[in-house]
Symmetry: C2
Subunit: 220 residues, 2 copies
DNA sequence: ACCTGAACACCGTTCAAGT
DNA sequence: ACCTGAACACCGTTCAAGT
């Protein structure tokens, strides 16, 4: 009676991170994790709800370790800093794509991540807008950020395999130049341009555009 | 010798759409499709490369049927119209999320979809910017659009099941109001605000912000 | 309370063999 | 040329049964 549990949330999280770091995140399956921990797959279900729950706990752990404690006091700077922090944190975990679109994702975020959400909403409010506008700005920025992560995660260099990044094969090779002249003209440069990291630059344009729009609504 | 093939690209696409329409897109698997067509699963691999290839062909077929032939001549309107058309087309196919992040996605798009890409790049150029800036604006808009589709596809009402949309359960229930005051203040209204479709509104702010930024770079 | 063997209900893909 | 049976190499999850 009462022998100590062999499995714990802590041990599971450590094992999961070990598999991700050693074998690549695609190899993190419930069955492999069970082998790693030398327990039965079914045992895991006494400590986690399901695989998505495990992934979410892993992401929150990562967020707590990488997201900043404090954000700038100037409203616009705060919005940019919070969004960029979310972006950079997610970009460092390619498997984040697996969990970003999980149902009720926002509601299962830890404190560190919620601080970034608060940072964006408060930034918009401190800029002179309503809280409702703050939520809308957050949502728009979140779509942009998640999209960047999701699209980029699955394209270009496959570092988990030993693939070459293949930046020199040309896109749109067989298009009709008379129908799509601009695409034909930029064809050979597309891959190079697409490889550039323009997240923060476009983010600034987005935030400025959203703040101008919100201000225009408040005072017509 | 030379008996006619029982299977064709056309028959496969029709079968796939039948399964999606009748059973929901989650049920579209290679094995089920084979059962539907009364052929062996292995036979499919003589007509398609793999499952992703099938999904991409399905998406291009859908794009050809739903995307507009012509776009507005006014540059800014053209950008907005092209992006909105891509968005609406994808929003009508929830399984699009499965294929949006496929490797080399852009390079495998059909003519109808490429017309939208051309529309955005040409709109930026006609607005007085360079083709390079056109590509960057397209990429930024694409991240935002794909993100909206991907995040929304997996959240809120599960129409494939008979679920209630459950808009009345409250987010951020156990947060510290002294640490996250704005989130605490908007908590009860979040779900309602998040359910609103604000894609086009924020898109306009994004495009305006990007065009202003691009113009500022060209003439400092 | 905690753990497990064995099963359930599937996947996508390959390949030697058949007509 | 076109098709298939059978296998390969896996998945996540459940549940009755054991200690």
């Amino acid at each position: 009676m009462g022998r100590p549990p062999l499995t714990s949330r802590e041990r599971i999280l450590v094992g999961a991170r070990l598999i991700i770091d050693r074998d690549g995140w695609e190899k993190l399956t419930i069955r492999r994790l069970a082998v790693e921990l030398e327990i039965a797959p079914a045992t895991l279900y006494h400590h986690i709800q399901d695989k998505e729950d495990l992934l979410l706990q892993l992401l929150n752990q990562h967020a707590d370790q990488t997201l900043p404690q404090h954000l700038p006091s100037q409203p616009r700077d705060r919005i940019i800093a919070a969004a960029t922090a979310m972006h950079d944190s997610l970009a460092a975990w390619p498997w984040a794509a697996e969990v970003l679109t999980a149902d009720g994702f926002l509601g299962r975020l830890g404190t560190a991540a919620l601080r970034m959400v608060e940072g964006i909403v408060s930034g918009v409010v401190d800029h002179g807008c309503t809280a409702e506008q703050g939520v809308q700005v957050f949502r728009s920025i979140w779509y942009y950020t998640a999209g960047e992560i999701l699209v980029r995660a699955h394209s270009g260099g496959h570092p988990s395999n030993g693939w070459p990044p293949a930046p020199n094969d040309v896109l749109f090779e067989h298009i009709d130049a008379s129908q799509l002249p601009h695409l034909a003209g930029i064809r050979t440069r597309w891959q190079t341009l697409a490889a550039r990291d323009t997240y923060t630059e476009a983010l600034q344009a987005f935030v400025d555009g959203l703040l101008v729009q919100a201000a225009a609504k408040t005072s017509p």
